[in-house]
Amino acid sequence: MAERQDWVPDEVDTGLPSAARLYDYLLGGGHNFAADRALAAKFIQVQPNARTIARLNRSFLRRAVLHLVDAGVRQFLDLGSGIPTVGNVHEIAGRAAPGSRVVYVDFEDVAVAHSRMMLEHDDTATILQEDMTDPDAVLSAARRTGLLDFAEPIGVLAVGVFHFVPPERDPAAVVAAYRDAVAPGSHLVLSQFTSDLQPEEMAGVVEVMKSSANPMYPRTRAEITGLFAGFDLVEPGVVPLPLWRPEEGAAEEDAERAGIFAGVGRRG
């Protein structure tokens, strides 16, 4: 059992770290517990670029959402949305296109409770507690929210989550189920850890994450590209995070140390 902070109520077990709170910590957030920060320390030890990777991933999410808004998408299904930290999808989309609707999906109790608190008074966004690898459950719950119109394009976001989906859950079939449920003009935004970049560090990360509630499964670029089956990849395809449509004036980033491949596909 890790140390408890005095602000944490006694009866709540904060011993088991979670990937959502780890990500929050790496992004500079304070929505995390000692166990999460201890895990983060180990993570940074094996992958010193961890904070940068977290930032680049979050930044990719922002660029991708804005790209989708430009392409006319006004509704989003954010799978594995995690702790609502900075720059959430409904904030980005809502700023670029007021009235955009977002359905967040996560399975982790605290992340869901947190999101629920945050979205309490927001009628354009909601959170569902579902397992994203169970598309039938997610889709039927999403339909019941009444927020998403499945006859119109939907942005399906799976940013930094598929590396938590083990091969036996058949990630390709999971993506396919979402693909088949959405209208033409819908997009898939996906990013995940890869074993192609810094293989040694990646192996270390896999080892570290084995001790958490969320073990990791990095994939090769070819495997990640395969997840986009049935989607037309938009330029520049599946690339390391900073190379996906960098914004003008952005700082030079080291793509070789970016850890994660990202891509956006459009359903024709």
Partner: protein, 653 residues
């Protein structure tokens, strides 16, 4: 910008970030050159960094690294203090502000995540409690028997239904072997099957076997046995569900269905509805709709009961269809009354519309129906079911009173008023017996001369005046007894002429003439001193008209009261021997309230007409001089009301 940007994730474009940071640089640049110098203005820089989420572990260090040399490289300011001191002061202010903002921000975030954690925990606990409670409910309320046994085949718990099936006390089962529950002829085969489940070799089995009643009689039952495993996958319990399939049982089931369902429509009956409503209400948000078909007696009388029954069946079917999408219970409460309980009801007007649409489509023989609806929407948990049904029914009655195809939501204020009225009506017989009611007298004054012609009898019950006493009395049927009592009281007390208004019920009473005569005999009041007024509307019945004629023939001056001047009422004057009439208090009230207008002209005309026919006109409820003068101009004969004298007890006369 390049230095700060990579230290944390900021949800802005590089261009936006640059603008934001330049703004802060301006604040610093202005401060370092300002005369006299103060570091105060730069204090906001730290918190504005935190505000925009520049909160990485390196953010402050990089900021200082950039700002420090830049501040020192500028031109030396003319006056003291020197540039280096200013730079230190500025960096110190930025740093301490940043640290404070970070600390507060961390508190906020930790507070948030703590709340989230608690919320998650509470939800999980509630989920557990709910699922336990659900299990409990299913277990306790199930119509089929359930036995939970350990893997070794020893009973842990049975539910009431199983205990009933074998006619034993639940305590009997504790510690018994499962096979002891069964007929000896089945026990051996079952023992083997149970063993296979208990050891985890078989997950479930189904068989038809005989349970053994306490009296040794077998009870045929369908068994469904399944294995429950613990978190580690080891066998934890074997659960047996038993459905009684003996003929006796089936017969009973059928009987109980009949006892709990309406035989005509197959809907739940009132009894079942009440017990289900109790369960639904205790679980949460239930909305109750109480319906009564409009004018259904017309259908029954006009088209026959056979058609009426067919229509009721059709109404039942349509109601079930109309509520099909909801978690509901539809019941026939009796006659042409139905009730629907809906869990998490959509907006009430929507459902009311659905009901109306369902009924208005023509049915058998082209009959289209409508109904009145009383709605109690999501009552507080504290209400008991009897209270709920009462509220729904009272609301329905109010809706029906408003006309056809009306609905009303429950209104606590209106309900309270009507309950006060009902309570009063209910208490009135006792109050009358206990002498709480009194008869008082008001002078009746001839307007032309100001002379007092006599006194009119008025009822009083504490603060309630004459009409307020009569209204509940008419409602509870006490009006007859009350009227006779009042007449006797008044006849005995009044010295001069007694003006007496009979209630509607009295006016139609077959026994009226005899009762009046007896009163005169017993009190010694001569008939010549009595002016009796019958209720005008009661004159549309034969008994009422007979009463008027016979009283007149008995030498009693007879008039009409509550006369509103309608055409039908005017025509009565030609048919009946009416010497005088008292106008309806509501007409008098309306004249008093409104400005001079059409109504005044109409009444003036009517009064003239009536008086020319030889009938005197009396006006009640005249409360002020102005009104008295107006009525005098209209040339009515006499009036009474507070203006001429208050109602006083007999001993003050």
């Amino acid at each position: 910008m390049r230095a700060i940007y990579p230290t944390a994730y900021v949800p802005l474009s590089p261009a936006e970030i640059e603008l934001y940071l330049l703004d802060l640089v301006d604040v610093v640049a202005d401060a370092v050159r300002a005369e006299p110098f103060t570091a105060e203005p730069v204090a906001v820089v730290g918190s504005r960094l935190v505000e925009a989420r520049f909160t990485g572990p390196d953010t402050l260090r990089r900021t200082v690294e950039v700002l420090g040399p830049a501040l020192l490289s500028g031109p030396e300011p003319a006056g003291a203090p020197g540039l280096a001191e200013r730079a230190v002061a500025i960096l110190g202010a930025v740093g301490s502000d940043f640290a404070t903002a970070m600390r507060l921000d961390a508190f906020d975030q930790q507070e948030e995540v703590k709340q989230a954690l608690l919320a998650a925990k509470r939800r999980a606990e509630r989920g557990l409690r709910v699922s336990e409670a659900r299990f409990r409910e299913v277990f306790d309320a199930a119509g089929f028997g359930v036995v939970i046994a350990d893997p070794g085949g020893t009973c842990v718990e049975v539910n009431e239904a199983l205990a009933e099936m074998v006619d034993r006390n639940r305590a009997w089962f504790a510690g018994r072997r499962l096979v002891e529950l069964f007929h000896p002829g089945d026990a051996e085969a079952l023992a083997a099957a149970y063993r296979a489940v208990g050891e985890g070799r078989v997950e479930r089995f189904r068989e038809r076997r005989r349970l053994l009643r306490a009296d040794g009689e077998p009870v045929w039952a369908h068994l469904a046995v399944s294995l429950l495993r613990d978190d580690d996958g080891a066998p934890a319990y074997q659960v047996t569900m038993a459905e009684d399939v003996s003929e006796l049982h089936l017969l009973q089931k059928n009987l109980s269905f009949q006892l709990l369902h309406d035989s005509l429509t197959g809907l739940a009956n009132r009894q079942l509805f009440i017990s289900r409503l109790e369960a639904l209400h205790s679980r949460g948000e239930v909305t109750l709709y109480h319906l009564d078909l409009d004018g259904f007696s017309l259908v029954n009388n006009g088209l026959g009961h056979e058609v009426g029954d067919r229509l009721l069946k059709e109404v039942a079917r349509r109601l079930e269809v109309a509520f099909a999408g909801e978690e509901t219970l539809v019941a026939r409460m009796g006659g042409d009354e139905f009730a629907v309980a809906v869990v998490d009801s959509p907006a009430v007007p929507t459902l009311v519309e659905r009901i109306n649409e369902a009924l208005e489509r023509p049915m058998d023989g082209g009959v289209a129906l409508s109904c009145g609806i009383g709605v109690v929407d999501r009552p507080a948990a504290g209400w008991d079911v009897a209270e709920l049904l009462r509220a729904a029914n009272a609301t329905l009655r109010r809706a029906k009173a408003a006309g056809k195809r009306q609905w009303l939501p429950y209104d606590p204020h209106e309900d309270r008023r009507s309950r006060v009225r009902s309570a009063r009506a209910a208490r009135m017989p006792g109050a009358l017996a206990d002498g709480e009611l009194e008869v008082e007298y008001q002078p009746v004054v001839e307007l032309a001369t100001g002379r007092t012609l006599g006194h009119v009898a008025r009822l009083r019950w504490d603060e309630l005046g004459h009409d307020e006493c009569l209204e509940p009395a008419e409602a509870n049927g006490l009006a007859l007894a009350l009227g006779q009592w009042a007449l006797r009281e008044a006849a005995g007390e009044v010295a001069g002429v007694l003006f007496f208004e009979l209630s509607a019920m009295q006016s139609r009473d077959e026994d009226l003439v005899r009762a009046v005569k007896r009163t005169l005999d017993e009190t010694g009041l001569p008939a010549s001193r009595l002016r009796i007024f019958l209720d005008t509307r009661s004159m549309f019945t034969e008994t009422g008209q007979d009463n008027a004629r016979v009283l007149r023939d008995s030498g009693i001056a007879t008039g009409l009261s509550r006369f509103n001047g309608g055409q039908a009422e005017l025509s009565l004057l030609a048919e009946l021997p009416v010497g005088a009439l008292v106008l309806d208090p509501s007409v008098v009230g309306r004249l008093a309230d409104g400005p001079e207008g059409f109504l005044h002209d109409a009444i003036t005309g009517m009064v003239g007409l009536v008086r020319r026919s030889g009938t005197a006109v009396l006006v009640p409820d005249v409360h002020d001089r102005e009104r008295a003068e107006w009525w005098a101009r209209v040339e009515v004969d006499a009036a009474f009301g507070d203006h001429f004298g208050p109602a006083v007890p007999g001993y003050e006369l």
